[in-house]
Amino acid sequence: MEAAGESRLARVGALRAPRLELKWLIIGACVALTLYLGIVPLAFLLWQSFFTPQSAAKAAQFTLGNYRDAYASEETWLLFWSSIKFAAGASLLAFALGTLLAWMNERTNTPFKSLFFALSIIPLIIPGILFTVAWILLGSPKIGLINLALQRLFDTDAVFVDVYSLTGMIWVDALHYSPMAFLLMSAAFRSMDPALEESAVMSGASVLQVVRKVTLPLAWPAVFATLLILFVRAIESFEVPALLGLPVGIQVFTSAIYQAVHRYPSQIGLASAYAVTLLVLTTAGVYFQSRLSTRGNRYATMTGKGFRPRLIDLGNWRYLTVAIFLLYFFLIVVLPFAVLLWSSFQKFYSVPSVEALSRLTLEPYRTILGHPNLMRSVWNSLLLAVSTATLVMLVTAVICWIVVKTKLPGRWLLDNFASLPMVFPGIVLGLSIMILYLYLPIGVYGTLWIMLIAYVTRFMPYGLRYNTTSMLQIHKELEESAQMSGASWGTAFRRIILPLLKPGLVAGWIYIVIVSIRELSSSILLYSPDTEVLSILIWELWENGQYVELSALGVMFILGLFVLVLLAQIVGRRFGIREA
């Protein structure tokens, strides 16, 4: 045995040059792609904002005019102010709703709460544009069901709710994103060790003192981080401002960018200047949030051991909390879906009544299924979603391996570059990619490729997060033992790392498929007649006033996504079992 081993070793020893070509080829390609996707659009956007538009007659020239135009006018300050008002309002309302629900769910004995936890995630599946449209059908002053019903009830012409207002915008956006606040705050409540509060009680502190001296200081990083995430998300929001704000002249940065591009002649320089401002806002938000979460680790409220917090016995008040849950679920899932469902069975949009009931028809479904663009949009959406998810997950697996498992100098920089697109609001990313490939004549403009580039860029940070979580759980010795067994890097990556990464890979893949299918704010600047996707088709139906067809498509879309999520959970559970 020994003799055989020694002679083999001698042979190996003679073969000095280590074969690492494949390894470095793959790593190099992934790093190059990440850097290209992360940096180039941003650089181009900045560059563009300092130049005059290029035309056949004259070349682009350096100018500060875009910023002068943007910031000298009072309009911009109004724009800034309304953006802040909208984002602050929406994030605070979403936070209040989400925190209340999270507290009820984590710290009280409200009945059926585990069921509510599952149900409250459903709204995140509903695409923003459909949620907004549903609320227009509910809260529009002219056709809104709520107004019409109340008017009939009180026999007046008064308008009770008007969704076409800043308040309306805040309401719809906050409602749609309250589940996000709910999930973030639930995690915060869950990770807070109740022993910290209990030991304060044991030290003789009163309830008020406990809250003031222990609970609040402990919860503060989580609260602030959640608020920042919600604020950044709200300021990036496109669907609500575009559908609810633009018709009544309330502009925020995202809708202003859209309008600047769609004006004739399009003012790309101005749009870029707006985009840079928006980017500064989101970057600041993301920066503070990441600072906060690294600092938050100091507070080590997460000890890793499972603790069962003492639940507050609400007594009869628990009927109130159940009622709140029910009302919330009604507002956020039942009502919007019901109104879409109702209008999808009408020939023309009309208010529910016995008379309208007799006019139920499948006509909208027939129309939409016969729509010339439908099959192409579905195909484009699926093709894009699957390729984006696959590409993102594989590339970020390599990136994340470099960041987590190697000691290469500058690897933290790579992590930051791959996370950079996180600060891009969808519409800003769409704009920068549009400009970039208008100037770069490599023939991707107006094709599906440009959408793929946009999607991959936009969702790369998510892929990285999913992969990193899984990668951190893979003990480095699992890979080292493969090396010691004689496996090359490629073999070890394929046979050890990827299978062990599977839970994160699969979960991230599914998440990216879903968000890609719903994507609107980047696509809206990048699509061409041949490359329409589902969300764009919905947008066009809305612009054409085809509400009933839109509803029919929306109902099928939501059901389709719902099935996808269910499948995802089943698949996820199957892959989850073998998690190391």
Binding site: M1, E2, V12, P18, L478, E480, A482, Q483, I496
Partner: protein, 369 residues
């Protein structure tokens, strides 16, 4: 078989400054022997092992296995770990959770360049699984194994390629005390039966004493002493080795003169005049530290006949351990620890005589702190 010469390693900490781990480490392991690197955590023993494995790239030195150079800073040789063909058992066992027991053990053969046939792989895997008594478990998921079984599987995986050298990185540290003791014998039996050259890393001195042909005690990146287990225990080279291996009493002393018997000296210690043994001749007046182990201090209630190295003290505390009693005896200002048979029942506060075996009183140079 294995030869390590002048090995030095360095790693960068989170602040970016270079930290030295192993420094000028050299040793030879003859074929078929089990060699142990023993030391406290951070002494550089694991880094040394990982450098042999190729998982770490040393800064300086030379490593060769069976005459073939696998690392040399001078000649710029660095064979990557996957080409070294060595077997290794990791501290965490590193059993791949997504594979069965069989698949785990078969992996090294499947990826090897010699491309054995499926039949050949099966035969070799079953043979090695049999050697570690896991052949019944071949079809099981690896995660369903107990700690001891996982450890044996890791060993099987390391042995299946029939490597010239087996590297073991604290393989027993994750097992509970009972199992650890059993696996210790198991490991020793297997190593002796297969005659495979082995490098073993541990911080557990009793493990090292029980298993090894030869031990290198390391501290702060340097080898302090290399020798057979008994040699290390009975003749520690310095204060660190004496302290790290087993329990001992240290007494400060000044050399008076050489004793009549060669190798022995008379010293004036904190507790009185003693005759001690020293490796090298000592100059009169030199400051030394005397190490004497608890089991080498005999206790008696009456003064022993032989008057050499006899001290008088009072019992300070005692701890009953079942098979023995630990006495702490106060002599002048010092408290000496002694292990005695449980039949000795001297009460606390009562006088007692200590007699120190001169053969076992070792004079050492003080390790500067």
């Amino acid at each position: 078989m294995l030869s390590v010469r002048g090995l030095s390693t360095e790693y960068t900490d989170e602040h970016g400054s270079a930290v030295r781990a192993a420094q000028d480490v050299s040793f030879e392991v003859p074929a078929g022997k089990l060699f142990t690197l023993l030391g406290p955590s951070g002494c550089g023993k694991t880094t040394t092992l990982r450098s042999i494995a190729g998982l770490e790239k040393p800064r300086e030195g030379e490593i060769s296995v069976g005459g073939a150079l696998i690392y040399s800073s001078k000649n710029g040789v660095f064979i990557p770990p996957s080409r070294r063909g060595l077997g290794m058992v990791f501290q965490s066992y590193a059993i791949w959770p997504h594979m069965t027991v069989f698949e785990n053990a078969a992996f090294p053969l499947q990826v090897s360049r010699s491309k054995p046939t499926r039949k050949e792989i099966e035969a070799r895997v079953l043979r090695v699984l049999k050697a570690v008594a896991l052949e019944e478990m071949a079809g099981r998921e690896a995660t369903k194994l107990s700690g001891g079984q996982q450890q044996r599987l890791a060993l099987a995986r390391a042995l299946v390629m029939e490597p010239p050298l087996l590297l073991l990185d604290e393989p027993l540290s994750n097992l509970d005390a009972k199992l650890r003791e059993r696996m210790r014998f198991e490991l020793k039996r297997l190593q002796r039966e297969l005659g495979i050259t082995t490098v073993y890393v541990t911080h557990d001195q009793s493990e090292a004493l029980a298993l090894s042909h030869s031990i290198a005690v390391m501290n702060r990146g340097r080898i302090q002493q290399t020798g057979a287990p008994r040699e290390i225990y009975e003749r520690p080279a310095n204060q660190f080795v004496a302290d790290f291996i087993g329990t001992t009493n240290f007494l400060r002393a000044t050399v008076d003169a050489a004793d009549g018997v060669p190798g022995f000296h008379r010293v004036a210690s904190e507790v009185g005049e003693l005759v001690v043994r020293a490796g090298d001749a000592l100059e009169p007046g030199a400051k030394v530290v005397i190490s004497v182990r608890p089991e080498d201090i005999r206790l008696s209630e009456s003064r022993p006949q032989d008057g050499r190295n006899v001290l008088e003290g009072t019992v300070d505390t005692k701890v009953f351990l079942g098979e023995s009693v630990d006495f702490r005896v106060k002599v002048k200002d010092r408290v000496l620890q002694s292990r005695a048979h449980p039949s000795l029942g001297t009460r606390v506060g009562h006088p007692i005589y200590l007699s120190l075996d001169a053969e076992k009183c070792v004079a050492l140079k003080e390790t500067p702190e």
